[in-house]
Amino acid sequence: MTVKAIINGIPIEVAEGTSILEAAKKVSIKIPALCKHPDLDHTAACGICIVRIKATGRTLRACCTPLENGMDIVTHDPEIVNVRRGIVEMIMSKHPNECVTCSRNQNCELQTMCADFNIERSDLDNIVPDLPLDETTRAVTLDPRKCISCGRCIQVCQKDQNVWALTFMERGIETRIAPAGDISLAESPCVKCGQCSAHCPTGAIVEYDEGPDVWQKLMDPELHCVVQIAPAVRVAIGEAFGFKPGTNLTGKIYAALRRMGFKAVFDTNFGADLTILEEGTEFVERFAHGKGELPLITSCCPAWVDFMEKYSAPCRRPTTPRRSRPTPRRSTWSRSCRARPKSMRSSATTT
């Protein structure tokens, strides 16, 4: 079934259930949208995507309203643009002006939106709340001050990942993102999958940055620092340095890491091989010799293991192998290079 409608005077026919936002894209009309993430269901939170129904003059949200037969829609007029601009200004009045020190700088959807609407200053009061950082997981950093309440992270955390670690607390202007129950993220059921940070439009949830810590360790003459890189990094890193996408940079990465001060560079492949050997041995022990339970389920992803252990009662410890992470073993390496195990520091890069 399809529906026929008109957007900005252009006749259009789309599959039933297509949102006005998606329908407009098909005829190359960009309706600005902030809270809607292309991969996620709508949250209808920002209101920036409003469009007007010509017949009634009413405005409605394009991201969550399906196009209906006979609709005649205007996506841009002076009032709509002013309202959109007004909303971005409002969001900015509650958002810290810390772009230069934010890890999402140049890669922030709110920043882009400000630029699109030429928002340089505003006469609205600055009402940025004073809320503490949560770095307890050392996996993701939660800075609730920067949150624009788009609701994406909650949606992925609750509906897609089924973890239910994140929620909104309070209401109205006090609304803030927090682990459910207002505990720390480390105490929460968070499995550190990073889906929240991957979908956050701003710097409110970002991956925990270990860079400063690594540099400190590298500069400490007492320490012996080693590093390993994950297979995907070899290629993925290229684009950030202007190489053609797909260029293999293994050699350059090794050289760069050595110049930074790492004493040894491992390839995660090596750790993965060791892991597979160990897992294989464990499986043989369990399967052939009846030592331990079956099935044996394994994954290199620590979030997956965490999730299984927290949420899947029958999959407690015995089902996940004793060792499922391909990180090099401190004791093994320290024996072969004669470094004191206590002085060893190991870093890992992943994508």
Binding site: H42, A44, A45, C46, G47, I48, I50, T59, R61, C64, T65, P66, E79, I80, N82, V83, R84, G86, I87, M90, I91, S93, K94, D123, L124, D125, I127, I148, S149, G151, T167, F168, E170, R171, G172, I173, E174, T175
Partner: protein, 547 residues
């Protein structure tokens, strides 16, 4: 008691009507308002005196008759004579009334007040009260099923289930012109028709919206407390028409007496075969349960209400899909307001045409208002649509309490607006109030006299809405706070003309960009105060040059 069949119901009613009445009937208003005014000790004193003197008197506790300012209210009727209404009755006064009136047959003039009967008319005429929704409030004991049955109770259920088709009920509703009393004024027949047509045969729900969060409004509470069976009848008929087997009363937790009375009424109805399996022997299965409101104004919004019942955060979601398509637990659902439901039985019994003849234009029937502020007689009133605001304030509520001229009337609570004195001849209809920048709303009405200040009143409402914003969408969450800060600046006499422009800009963004009606209507009180009383704002401004 046995489960009623249609014939039993009629026989029982006839028996109740034939029963010889006691010599005297004494009614004491015991709703939340009566209780707060001290009606419990008055009731105790009356019982004591009647017992002491060995009088043949029936003592009845009733719901609220509406004259809340005159509570505690006691009504006495002796030997079938027209009842006398006593107001502001103290324990001593109560003893005197029993002694002189119940025993001696002489009216105690000192405590006499006009009765609701005297203030309302038999026929609907503008300027007088006319009672459909409140017909039993203050008249019967809300905890007595018999008293309800004696006043035509459950006759409409019998009529619909045994002698009508659902389509006929919908058609009567269409003729009646009844529109939702919860605020939006959506035609009720249309909602019933759409929900009936949606996914036939599947599990459906009918929900009674008793969340009533407007400050100053208590129409729905009074109906739930004063005539619970009438609302249950509306639910049964609605459930039958749309094909629901389950009804849910969503009542705010701050209404313990309403919850208690509905709970009792549900049990009574169940015990008598009026709820549960095979209602009145017709084969229709329908039952009701109660859910307590989560204590937020926004939970009165139907999609937030549904989320709240599901145990989620009570925040609105976009419509479509409408509850009729995808409501509670994703099933077709219908949310109706308490007052809307309380009209149903009467429309079924007396016909859509009877109801449609009351009121004007597209606003039919009556509307209940809770009138407060600077009026002589504040309280609950029910008037035919089309009555003017001036008639309400001057004729029904006796003018201002201060004797000062009226300045304005606020309708629609935090979502509505101010209507100035020179426009008080406006008839109360959805359309006319809308044209003036206000709304009918659910029935709050505040009267202001010349000593009141519109900047402060609109600030009060704005503060309420800002506090109650669920925080889901940016325009309402942030816009409301920014507007409040700007008004505070003006109140502190630090604002300039630019701040007025800023208020208007924020208002537009909230009206167009907010997800639900809370955010969309939050600016209304401020905008109407600016529209009709601009000088009260400009006189507080700092001249731009002095900045």
């Amino acid at each position: 008691m046995p489960k009623f069949t249609p014939a039993d119901l009629d026989a029982h009613k006839a028996k109740l009507l034939a029963a010889t009445a006691k010599k005297a009937i004494i009614k004491v208003g015991l709703n939340t308002c009566g209780d707060a005014a001290g009606a419990q000790p008055v009731m105790a004193a009356i019982k004591e005196e009647v017992a002491k003197a060995g009088l043949d008197a029936q003592i009845v506790k009733t719901g609220c008759s509406g004259m809340c300012a005159l509570e505690p209210l006691v009504e006495v009727s002796v030997g079938g004579a027209a009842p006398t209404q006593y107001g502001r009755v103290t324990v001593e006064a109560a003893r005197e009334i029993v002694e002189k009136h119940v025993k001696g047959g002489r009216v105690v003039e000192a405590f006499k007040v006009p009765s609701v009967g005297e203030m309302s008319s038999e026929k609907p005429v503008p300027g007088k009260q006319y009672r459909i929704v409140l017909r039993n409030c203050g008249v019967i004991d809300p905890e007595s099923l018999d008293e309800y049955i004696a006043r035509d109770g459950y006759q409409a259920t019998k009529q619909a289930l045994t002698a009508m088709t659902p389509e006929q009920v919908i058609s009567e509703l269409e003729t009646s012109g009844l529109r939702g009393r919860g605020g939006a004024g959506f035609p009720t027949f249309m909602k019933w028709k759409l929900t009936r047509a949606s996914r036939p045969g599947e599990q459906k729900y009918i929900i009674c919206n008793g969340d009533e969060g407007d400050p100053g409004a208590y129409m729905d509470r009074s109906v739930l407390e004063g005539d619970p069976h009438a609302v249950i009848e509306g639910m049964i008929i609605g459930g039958w028409v749309i094909g629901a087997s389950q009804g849910i009363f969503y009542i705010r937790a701050e209404y313990p007496l309403a919850i208690e009375r509905i709970e009792k009424a549900i049990k009574q109805a169940r015990a008598n075969g009026l709820l549960g399996k095979n209602i009145l022997g017709t084969g229709f299965d329908f039952d009701c349960e109660i859910r307590l409101g989560a204590g937020a104004f926004v939970c009165g919004e139907e999609t937030a209400l549904i989320a709240s019942i599901e145990g989620l955060r009570g925040t609105p979601r976009p419509r479509p899909p409408y509850p009729a398509q995808k409501g509670l637990w994703d099933q077709p659902s219908m949310v109706n307001n308490v007052e809307t439901l309380a009209n149903i039985a009467q429309i079924v019994l007396r016909g859509g045409a009877w109801f449609g003849a009351i009121g004007v234009g597209r606003s039919k029937g009556t509307k209940v208002f809770a009138v407060t502020g600077k009026v002589k007689v504040s309280g609950l009133i029910e008037i035919p649509m089309g009555t003017t605001l001036r008639q309400v304030v001057m004729d029904i509520c006796g003018g201002t309490s201060s004797g000062k001229p009226i300045k304005a009337v606020q309708t629609g609570g935090p979502s509505g607006g101010l209507i100035p004195e020179n426009l008080l001849d406006t008839p109360i209809t959805y359309e006319d109030l809308g044209k003036l920048g206000s709304i009918m709303g659910s029935g709050g009405m505040i009267v202001m006299d010349e000593s009141d200040n519109t900047v402060e009143l609109s600030r009060f409402y704005l503060d309420f809405s800002v506090d109650e914003s669920c925080g889901k969408c940016a325009p309402c969450r942030i816009g409301g706070t920014q507007m409040l800060r700007t008004i505070d600046k003006i109140v502190a006499r630090k604002g300039t003309a630019a701040d007025i422009a800023k208020i208007r800009r924020i208002a537009l963004t909230m009206q167009r960009g907010s997800l639900c009606a809370l955010g969309q209507t939050t600016p209304n009180p401020v905008l109407s105060a600016l529209r009709y009383f601009e000088s009260e704002w400009t006189e507080r401004l700092v001249p731009a040059t002095k900045k």
